[in-house]
């Protein structure tokens, strides 16, 4: 047992400062979710394997953490697979449960299971950890939180308008000003594919287009050509590569590009509705930008597609994303439930706030005063004052041991406690308190009432 203990790779311990900072983000998101009328649900950490398996593709199935059955799992295992040592085949017979891989599939399962208790449209949010057996790397963990808000049971575009405002509200509250909310629409992408004669290559087409930012126009064209999209079609894309100007002017250009596609025109109508509403309502600090190259999990989305990027100057992938999907619950047998939702990337938002020094200083010094311990009688007088402070909503504590004063001061320093209170023999006599500000070194002698007032204001 001399070996220093450790934690599994890809997981993290969070110290008090980190928890406080994470909670600051969680609470801000949660408060705004509720301000917009979303209601919280929570689902179990593990689901029946059949609920999760097959929902995230082959790769996803591999990355799902499986829980070993309890008891003599071998005796109930698929004996043929066991004898053949076929791990793929044997898994389902020795593992019936698996850790949540995301919040979307459990949410779909929840909606179907509880459909008779739910009032639709159902606006739910969910902030819980998920687990993926991915190879850990910088910024990618095996356990991480997702923060999702979704509405199911309404096709109204006002939801999209709400989500744009919600992103704006959260990032404004976090003082992260100038984020860009990029928006696109699956129908626009389908329309373009139709116009250039690549309907049957929609995925190849959008995967290539999605890379425009990273690899540039020429390489995107090469990739499309390689995937069998004809040169004549790619030529028709030219106006798309030079789309520019405001949201409205890009829309005008799209109208001419997509004039022959009914689906494309519907996409334009949807984007126009959202843009018009947001122009009237106005955003506080975020910018809404049309980005016709935005695709994300295209197979999934059927209408609006969102992605949020950090303010200019901060190198960070997307810090949020989402979109509309017309058939979330179909996988569990409930048809025709349209949904739209967004998600916040906690870990990346954390890194951005850290990089820009945007965490409020106060979140890590919640204890306003440490009382120095000078012995039993003094400690008792201190405890009475501590009690009074607490009943006034002020976080305070007594150093538990009668140790050297310097050690107790060091403790206050390292804990980032801004004030110490000294109750020694003379204070005990005069029923006063010596309040010392740790930053300025200033100290003053006060009575209890003043102590409560000063620390309450601190």
């Amino acid at each position: 047992m001399a070996k220093k203990p450790s934690i599994p790779k890809g997981t993290r311990d969070f110290n008090p400062e980190e928890v406080a900072k994470r909670n600051y983000i969680f609470n801000t998101i949660r408060q705004n979710f509720e301000r917009f009328g979303f209601q919280p649900i929570e689902t179990p950490s593990f689901e029946n394997s059949e609920t999760l398996m097959g929902k995230y593709g082959e790769e996803g199935d591999r990355l799902i953490f499986k829980i070993l059955n309890s008891g003599d799992f071998l005796s109930k295992a698929d004996q043929q697979a066991l004898n053949a040592k076929d791990f793929t085949k044997i898994t389902s017979s020795i593992s019936e449960k698996a850790l949540r891989y995301d919040l979307t599939v459990p949410f779909a399962r929840y909606v179907v299971q509880h459909q008779n208790e739910i009032e639709f449209p159902f606006k739910r949010y969910q902030i819980q950890p998920v687990w993926r057996a991915d190879r850990p790397q910088k910024g990618r963990f095996r356990e991480f939180f997702q923060c999702d808000a979704d509405v199911v049971g309404s096709q109204s575009l006002w939801q999209e308008v709400e989500f744009v405002q919600l992103y704006d509200a959260v990032f404004t509250a976090l003082k992260l000003e100038g984020v860009t909310i990029k928006i696109n629409n699956r129908k626009i992408l389908s329309g373009i594919a139709e116009v250039i004669g690549a309907q049957d290559k929609l995925i190849d087409f959008t995967v290539a287009l999605d890379k425009l930012d990273k690899i540039g126009e020429e390489k995107v064209k090469e990739e499309m050509l390689g995937k069998g999209i004809p040169q004549s079609g790619i030529d028709k894309l030219q106006p798309l590569f030079s789309l520019s100007g405001s949201f409205e002017s890009q829309i005008e250009q799209l109208k001419s590009i997509l004039s022959t596609s009914e689906e494309g025109k519907m996409g334009i109508e949807e984007l126009e509705f959202i843009d018009k509403a947001i122009s009237e309502l106005q955003l506080q600090t975020a910018n809404l930008q049309l980005d016709v190259t935005l695709a994300r999990g295209l197979n999934y989305y059927t209408g609006a597609i969102f992605e949020v990027s950090a303010p200019k100057g901060v190198e960070m992938g997307s810090i949020g994303g989402g979109g509309r999907y017309d058939d979330l619950t179909g996988i569990f047998g409930l048809k025709d439930v349209s949904g739209v939702g967004i998600s916040f990337g906690l870990d990346r938002i954390y890194l951005v706030l850290e990089a820009l020094n945007l965490f409020p200083e106060t979140i890590t010094n919640t204890v306003k005063a440490l009382f120095i311990n000078f012995g039993e009688a003094e400690a008792m007088a201190s405890m009475k004052a501590v009690k009074e402070l607490r009943s006034n909503g002020i976080n305070a504590e007594l150093f538990p041991d009668h140790k050297k004063t310097i050690k107790q001061f060091n403790y206050a320093n390292k804990r980032n406690i801004p004030n110490v209170v000294l109750v020694g023999e003379s204070e005990l006599q005069s029923q006063t308190f010596t309040l010392k500000n740790m930053a300025s070194g200033e100290q003053q002698s006060v009575n209890l009432q003043t102590l409560v007032r000063l620390l309450g204001d601190a």
Copy 2:
């Protein structure tokens, strides 16, 4: 896929109302933990198996959920055990990680791993789920939250005083008045065993004594006799069974019973210190009671032992417990770190608050107003008002679809939203809002400013 989806037995979905009620308890506990100077940490949901296995006894090892290794786990399995189909032996070679079983062992691991970054005494709290493969039954789940606060690195009895006050503060804040905080001390139990000549049967002795409440004096004596405690010793216990009166008078009686035991006398001293301090500081609504039969996980505790029971008239096991342990981190190689801590039983507290109807009504109607949707222009005017309300900290939303008014009213009712706001054609013209109270049916025509004020007060 026609089969309705379900969740694993022993796990739960929480709907919005349940999450709100649980968060009310969590937040109250968290706020008081911080008021008392405790700092939050979080540890990963799964630990390396070697961190957990062997720490909870054989039964515990069986109840720990193990996670199957990713990839071809069979090829790396213990082939001998595999061929012999020995599930116990093979487990460690196909599963390296396991779900957290409690918060105490991960905390000990955390303290040892991060000992150089920690400022001692370390006052930490932790509110996270744990998992146990126990047979589910009423009130016992396979996934449940623990809420723990511990201090390590100080032997001061002021900590025990703090924990008594902390219990009082939390239950007072929850309006759960009249809980009983029972306290005992391992040294008292050891002292009694010494006095009656049962030092070598301390566990048997305390296990029997712990049942006094349930099975009565005669059966307890029988059990002790059966375990080989001599009749002469049991006779000496007589005064213990008739202990009565106040904390102080019970202490006086104990003094005479334990007059020949040094350890017993130390236990008395500790109890006296705590009782005296609490008498001076006074509790708000809880009662502190000496209970010399209280043992809990005796092997674990070395000093104070706490247990909290619900107010009289509510049938419920303990709703909290804890105590002092002198060697928490020894299992990971760090010696001589004394700790003391308490825990809150969330699920039982929830049931008690529900039974006594103590959840504030407001926690489930966070949305103050639903705006009825009468069409695009009206919805846009509504959205502007919604935005104004939100920027004043008021939770509000627009019904997303232009459906029949009765349907929208029903939605407000079912969502427990106390007000609806109507913006129809005439309101649009006059730039007013019709505010209707859902409970009283009263409605009034107001301007935006008044709307904000009225809903802000609601």
